[in-house]
């Protein structure tokens, strides 16, 4: 990325009671980037956003804006604005007064306020809504008012805390495209918090996957999806089959009861590893000694594809395919070398795997 980061987090730590909410966060956010903090609830993503907004003070570490340390600078003196969960519009003010709020504080003259409010409402497609009571607006419209109210202050960085969480699916999709358009048109930095991986993949230039107060992986959507750095990321971004494997030598791995060529190397001889295979990367073949043999246990129609659960000696595989097998049928599963993602086992992934196994009813099988 070009030049110095606009926001720099260095070793940020937060502890509430005896719970470590953030365990040393290091993150660079560059100008005009759309960055998404993605993770399950309680992973620390919202806390990270609130630190940037100035609502939470880090107990350790530095936060810099444009190269200057801004620890302790109160929210109203920062060049960032926030879109809050559930919008936090001021109910005693109408749409115009809500949007004009920031400019009135800066004592901008009323003629200019009027024009800029009109421009902003135009931007969020709420032309002519000025005199409306905010309580009479729909969720989607309130959201747009909140966006206009924040953007009218020309922030360098806009922080968005799960802004689409309260909207229905249809509206959420519309707003995703619209937010991305707004970001590109205004050419400013967006820091977006969500637990919805699809939202993150759709909108972001850069995704920061978080879990248990730590950053798991930072990367562009494609690399997060295709090359997850550990089992947690793989599981959190899309459906995955995560298996135990043994690297017998470079480019040769054993998992699921068979041997496969792969494109990774550099492991110890017979090192135990995590293997991630996306359900859509599995090729269904006639059962043979060249593939993994299983029995089809369930077939679910998903629209574009069928999702099948295939049981192979107790390991339940999730497979996506455009053609369906019948339940009880024997199937052979194969994977091309490029689609076998191999990750070093770490204490951290082992812990997250135990959590995943508990919550997912054992879809992913460990030894």
């Amino acid at each position: 990325m070009n030049g110095e980061p606009i926001i720099k987090l260095e070793n940020i730590e937060i502890t509430y009671g005896n719970i470590k909410v953030l365990k040393g966060i290091n993150l660079d956010i560059y100008d005009k980037e759309f960055v998404t903090l993605l993770g399950p609830s309680g992973c620390g993503k919202t806390t990270t956003l609130r630190i940037i907004g100035g609502f939470v003070e880090p107990q350790a570490g530095n936060i810099c804006f444009d190269g200057k340390k801004i620890n302790g600078v109160p929210p109203h003196k920062r060049q960032v604005n926030t879109i809050f969960q559930r919008y936090a519009l001021f109910p005693h003010l109408n749409v115009y007064e809500n949007v004009a709020f920031g400019l009135k504080l800066k004592k901008v003259n009323s003629g200019e306020i009027r024009t800029r409010v009109a421009e902003m409402l135009e931007l969020v497609d709420l032309n002519g809504f000025q005199p409306r009571d905010v309580n009479s607006l729909s969720g989607g419209q309130q959201q747009r008012v909140a966006i206009a109210r924040a953007l009218i202050n020309h922030p360098r960085v806009l922080l968005l805390d799960e802004p689409l969480g309260a909207l229905d699916l249809q509206l959420r999709k519309e707003m995703q495209t619209e937010l991305k358009k707004i970001q590109q048109r205004l050419n400013i930095t967006f820091v977006y918090v969500t637990h919805d991986q699809e939202e993150a993949l759709t909108m972001s230039d850069k995704i920061v996957v978080m879990n248990n107060g730590e950053i798991q992986q930072i990367g562009v959507p494609e690399s997060i999806y295709n090359e997850p750095s550990n089992a947690f990321v793989a599981r959190f971004i899309g459906d995955s089959n995560i298996l135990d494997g043994i690297m017998h030598r470079d480019y040769f791995i054993e998992f699921g009861g068979n041997y496969f060529d792969c494109i990774d190397g550099g492991f110890e001889k017979t090192e135990r590893v995590d293997v991630v295979i996306r359900p859509e990367d599995i090729i269904i073949e006639e059962p043979s000694d060249k593939n993994i043999i299983g029995i089809v246990e369930a077939v679910i129609f998903k629209g574009v594809h069928y999702e099948m659960i295939i049981d192979s000696f107790g390991v339940k595989w999730t497979v996506h395919s455009t053609s369906a097998l019948t339940v009880g049928e024997a199937a052979g599963m194969n994977v091309s070398p490029g689609n076998i993602h191999i990750m070093k086992k770490t204490a951290e992934t082992d812990i997250s795997r135990i959590i995943i196994n508990e919550t997912d009813g054992g879809e992913i099988i460990t030894e």
């Binding site: 907004g53 929210p75 109203h76 604005n81 519009l89 005693h92 109408n94 709020f101 009571d133």
Partner: protein, 268 residues
């Protein structure tokens, strides 16, 4: 079926009618008798405004009325300020201390007034504060502050906590955020707490009786000392005026509420 419906209607409206009759009959009789030409409490001897005229010449009642209004205004304004600060403080406490503070708030309301009155009397005697306006004021502020707090708590609970942060985010310092966002939101609660404190202050007899001095008569105390001698129709006139004032205030508040809701939608 139809007969049943009819009966149901008659009984339900009859029941409501009775309740209102019991509530309002005494007040209407009082108003009617305030225009009675005779001093009798049972015989109607023709219409007169004599008692109203005499009331306004009665220096004793007028000064008591003035004292009551000044006391009620000053004590309820101070109670509103004190109560608002207290409510915000209590609201931001953690669960346990919050429950403790709320119970401490309820206690003075549940405590029999006579005990509050006697204990104030003892306290003022103990700290050698001579009874008069100041003692009355202190007592009135202390018994009406809990009403402000109790009226405000539900409003604070309704507040979206992000609204305060949103105000800071848009450039308010904490004081501006309170004044521009929190205060307008909770103002109806402060106002109703203030009005409650105001009426309780005007109404209070028991506590005032114990803490006031000979020079300082409030209206309830003045009325009490007058009827000990003889019930004068001037009291009827005074009561009728007070009831009418309250009635008019109630109507005005209602009209204002309706207007404000409408106005909000056309304000630009």
């Amino acid at each position: 079926m139809n007969v049943q419906k009819l009966l149901k209607k008659i009984f339900s409206s009859g029941y409501t009618g009775f309740i209102f009759l019991f509530l309002y009959a005494p007040i209407f009789i009082l108003i009617i008798f305030s225009f009675n030409a005779s001093k009798s409490k049972s015989v109607w001897a023709g219409f007169t405004l004599e008692w109203y005229g005499r009331l306004f010449q009665n220096e004793f009642i007028i000064s008591a009325f003035r004292n009551t209004i000044i006391l009620a205004l000053v004590s309820s304004v101070l109670a509103a300020i004190l109560g608002t600060a207290a409510a915000i403080g209590i609201y931001s406490l953690k669960k346990r201390p919050k429950a403790v503070m709320m119970n401490l708030t309820y206690l003075p309301i549940l405590n029999p007034e006579i005990i509050t009155g006697v204990s104030f009397m003892l306290l003022f005697a103990f700290i050698k504060l001579s009874p008069g306006f100041l003692t009355l004021l202190i007592a009135h502020i202390s018994f009406s502050t809990p009403y402000v707090i109790l009226n405000l708590m539900p409003k604070l609970r309704q507040l979206d906590r992000y609204q305060y942060e949103a105000a800071l985010d848009l450039g308010c310092n904490p004081f501006q955020a309170f004044r521009k966002v929190i205060f307008p939101e909770i103002f109806p609660g402060i106002l109703s707490g203030f009005l409650m404190a105001f009426t309780y202050s005007i109404d209070d007899f028991v506590i005032s009786y114990f803490v006031t001095g000979p020079e300082m008569q409030t209206l309830p105390i003045a009325i009490y000392s007058m009827i000990r001698k003889q019930i004068s129709p001037e009291i009827n006139a005074l009561s009728a005026i007070m009831f009418t004032v309250v009635l008019v205030m109630l109507i005005l508040v209602n009209i204002k509420d309706i207007r404000e809701t409408k106005k909000r939608e056309i304000k630009y």
